[in-house]
Amino acid sequence: MEATFWNRHTETMPRAKLDALHLHRLQALCHYVYERSAFYRKKFDDARLKPGDIRTLEDFKRKLPITDKSEFIDQQLANPPYGPTLAMPDELIVHHCETSGTTGKPLAIPYTMYDTVRYGESWIYGMWALGIRPTDTFYFAFGWGNFAGFWSTYWAARRIGCRVISGGGLDTKGHINAIMRMKPTVLISTPTFALRMAAVATEMGVDVSKSSIKFTYHAGEPGPTALPAMREQIERAWGAKAGELLGIAEVDAFAPGCPVGDGVHVNEMNNFTWSMDPATGKEVAEGVIGENIITSYANSAQPLLNYRSHDLVRRRMSCACGRTWAKLEGAVLGRTDFMVTVRGTNVYQTAVENLIGEMEEVSNSYELILTREEENDAMTVKFEPVRTVNPDRWGELARQMSDKIHKALHVRLKCEPVPPDTLPRYELKTKRIIDQRPKEFRRALDR
C-alpha cells in the first residue's frame, strides 16, 4: 500500500512525546522572543513574567498573554513596516507578504529564508495525503501579489519536486485554455473560483471533468472540508479529488488537511494550538467548540505566540487516518467576529459598519443580506438615507457607498437604499446579518 504520510515518524508521534517536544520548543521560543522582540518583552514585563516561568504547557496557555492581530497592526502603523514586532535582523528578511486588510489596515508579514521553507512544508502533508506526488504538475489559477497563501503553495510545490505553471495575468477563459493546453494535474485556486472556472468552461463548450486535472487543492475561504456540498460540486465539475488547507496568512499553512475528508490536522511540527472559550479566556475540553489559539514556530521574523485566530473549531485528539496531530473537525465552524467571503475577499460585518458610519447622510441602521449567486457568496448592503436627503439623491448615495467599500475592502457590494426608519430597530442584540444562502453553503455555526 502506498504511504499516505509525508512523515509517518512525526505525523503519528504519541501525544506524550509530542507534548514534551512542544514544551521544549515553546520554552525556547519564549526566551527567543523575550531577547529579540521589543513587543514581546513588553508583553512579558507587563504580565510580570519571565521566560523561565514557563515550566509546563499549562503555564504557557494560562500565564502568557493572548495576542491579537490588531496589536501587531497598531505597532506597525506607528513604526512601519514592521516596528517592534520584528525579531530577526533586517538583513535576514528575504520575503514580504501582507494580509488583505479586510478587517482594517493590512498586516505586514516578514519572512526569513528558513521561514519560507517552514511555511511551504506545511502544505505538503495534506497534498501528500490526498495523493499528490512529484510527478504531478501544478496550475496556479490566480494573480500573485503579496498574498501569503499563493506564495506558500508555490514553496510547497517546489519542495515536493512538482512542475509549476503560473496562471498569473490570465482571465478565466485564459485559465481554461492554459489547462487544456498544458495538461496540469493539480489545480490550485480558491474553492469558489474552481466552480467559476468550471462554469465558464461549460459556456466555452469545454468539459473540465474530462481534463487532465486529478486533484484540486484550496484555501482562502470555506472549502470542501467545511462545506460538503462544495466538495461534491467541485469534485463533480472537475472529475477530481478536492482537498483543503486551513491557513492564516501571518501564521502558517497550519492545518493541511486529512485524507478522511471531514477535517484538517494541525501541523504540530510547526504549531502549538489549543481551544479557548472566547468569553472566559479558559481552555475548553476536547470536542467542545472554542476559539483556536495558535503559537507558530514557522514565523521567526514576526513570532506569533498565543495568537487569536477568531476561528471557532471543534478539536479532536484522534483520527481514523492514524495521525496523532490535533484534528479540527469541519475545519472552521464559525467566527468570533462574523465574516463572510465574497468573491475571495473576507468581509467582516464590523468593517462594513465602520464605513457606513463614516457617511454623514446615512443612518446607523443597516442590514447585510447574504445570498448565493453564480457559485459565489454575495452580499447586499441595505441602508437608510437620513430624512433630510432628497430621494432623488439615494441612487448617488448608493454609488458612493459601493465605491467607498470597494476602495477600502477591495470587493464591490451591491448597496440598496430603503426609505428612512424602515429597517428594524433592536433594543438588545442587533441583528444586522440576514443570511439567505442555502444551508449547505453556510459554516456549521452559521446554519
Binding site: 512525546k17 517536544l21 529564508m113 528558513y114 511540527m269 521567526s300
Partner: protein, 61 residues
C-alpha cells in the same frame, strides 16, 4: 531512525567545518542552504535542535 539522526548530525558538523574555511560567496550560500535543510530534517524528526540556526551563523560571521 537513530542511525539516520546520527548521520545527519555528523553531516552538519562537516558542513560547519567547511563553512568556516570557505570564502567563496557562491559556495558559502550553498553550504548554508544545505545546513538549513539538515537542521530542518532534525526538527521534523522531533530532535531537540536550536530554534534559529540562521542566528547562530550570523553570530559566527
Amino acid at each position: 531512525m537513530e542511525d539516520c539522526i546520527a548521520k545527519i548530525r555528523q553531516a552538519r558538523a562537516l558542513l560547519a567545518a567547511a563553512m568556516a574555511r570557505c570564502d567563496v560567496p557562491q559556495i558559502e550560500a550553498m553550504l548554508r542552504t544545505a545546513d538549513t535543510e539538515l537542521h530542518w530534517a532534525l526538527w521534523n524528526l522531533g530532535e531537540p535542535v536550536s530554534l534559529h540556526p540562521e542566528l547562530e551563523r550570523s553570530r559566527t560571521g
